[in-house]
């Protein structure tokens, strides 16, 4: 069962529809006790970083996310919030992955970075199995995350930025897999496969 975190900055309908199309079971909640029952977490998000953090703090979800050992997939703002801080509202974010989010320079090109772009895979990871530098994914964001050792794939718009990240049980994608046609569905299926293998391992006592 996948728990989708419900908070102010969520874009829940699209994520729910995408999981339903894949036949995955899910529930939506902003309650940490309920989320404790999930096999894995999807952490969506659109909108403003500072406002999103305020809402997570008000629900005590910031601490819960940081401490969870479940696989977590952050999407768009959900991925960005895994980093340390953001220029957007000059706020502290969850601090799971090092780095500060910066605004794209709108004197260089249109901002937000909106539309279909590719990524460049840097590190093999089950989350991006089958997706190379030819496939397109849908991005919408005005702020970007820096690339570092936790970047699985980078994308280029104005400059190189993190498109897919992973650290321990935390994963994140800057684009919207739930809105990226078949390629996006593949990425979500990869996440589900990873979760189910994990829970099977646990059930058979090998972890």
């Amino acid at each position: 069962m996948i728990g989708i975190i419900k908070y102010k900055a969520g874009n829940l309908a699209s994520v729910e529809n995408a999981l339903a199309r894949l036949g995955a079971e899910y529930f939506v909640s902003n309650n940490s006790e309920e989320l404790d029952k999930a096999d894995a977490i999807i952490f969506p998000g659109v909108g403003h970083a500072a406002a999103a953090m305020d809402d997570l703090r008000a629900k005590d979800l910031d601490v819960w996310i940081k401490n969870t050992k479940k696989p977590v997939l952050g999407i768009c703002l959900g991925m960005q919030l895994l980093f340390e801080s953001s220029e957007e509202g000059d706020c502290k974010t969850l601090g799971i992955i090092p780095g500060r989010l910066k605004k794209f320079d709108s004197s260089q090109a249109k901002v937000p970075h909106m539309g279909w772009n590719q990524f460049n895979p840097l590190i093999d990871h089950p989350l991006i199995t089958g997706i190379g530098n030819k496939q397109f994914l849908y991005y919408v964001h005005g702020y970007y995350a820096p690339t570092n050792e936790f970047t699985l794939a980078s994308c280029n718009y104005i400059k190189d930025f993190a498109a897919v990240v992973a650290k321990d049980n935390f994963m994140g994608v800057q684009f919207h897999p739930e809105k990226s046609g078949q390629v996006g569905s593949l990425l979500l299926q990869n996440f589900l496969n990873l979760v189910y293998q994990e829970s099977e391992k646990k059930a058979s006592g090998t972890v």
Partner: protein, 257 residues
Amino acid sequence: MLTKRIIPCLDIKDGRTVKGVNFIGLRDAGDPIELARRYTNEGADELVFLDITATKEKRRTLVKLVEDIAREISIPFTVGGGIKSVDEIEEILKAGADKVSLNSAIVRNPDLITRASDAFGSQAVVAAVDAKKTGSHWEVFVKGGSEPTGLNALEWIKRTQELGAGEILLTSMDRDGTKSGFDLELLAEVNKLITIPVIASGGAGTIQHCCDAIQKGKADAVLAASIFHFREIEIQTLKKRMADAGIPVRFVTEILD
């Protein structure tokens, strides 16, 4: 590389797709969900649904349609037509739309742009502007192009960006439905002026028109209706020719083994 987007537009009336010529004289062009599915498979990058008969009674029908589309379609889509308040925007976004297109309501009440982008993010707020050449400048028209506002289109567009719009859907009323090409002069002026993406609309008749909108008008996306509905131009063919012309476009490639 970020690709230029091809966006079929579906004008919706009573749950069916229609396309007007200069906003009047509507022809029926089919079931919106069936069309949406077809376009997605053929490589459309986004879809726009404009409810041209949005009235209070029709609102439920539209929300239901948005829910049905969101269940079926795995690419982004925008919904517009008579949306007037933050509550209505929320209803449409919650039903599964990615963006709302706001037109008459933001002219009457520009503050709606700010309130909507604060609540849902500017990426969800498309400012739709219907512009018509009046003497030496372009004027903004509202209510489906029937009512002049006295607003200078370039000034108004700049202002929508400042208020928090994430994208501009720019329709040339002079060209809409004529298939005589986009208003390249208007597009180029607008793209010089603002830093958010611009969708070119009104006048698509040939592949060359679409290339010109991007290469000469500097548009980020091209929107068209009838050329796609009646299969006058196939999206795949259009994209191939755009790529030949040096425009980055997205092809729906096979997924790797």
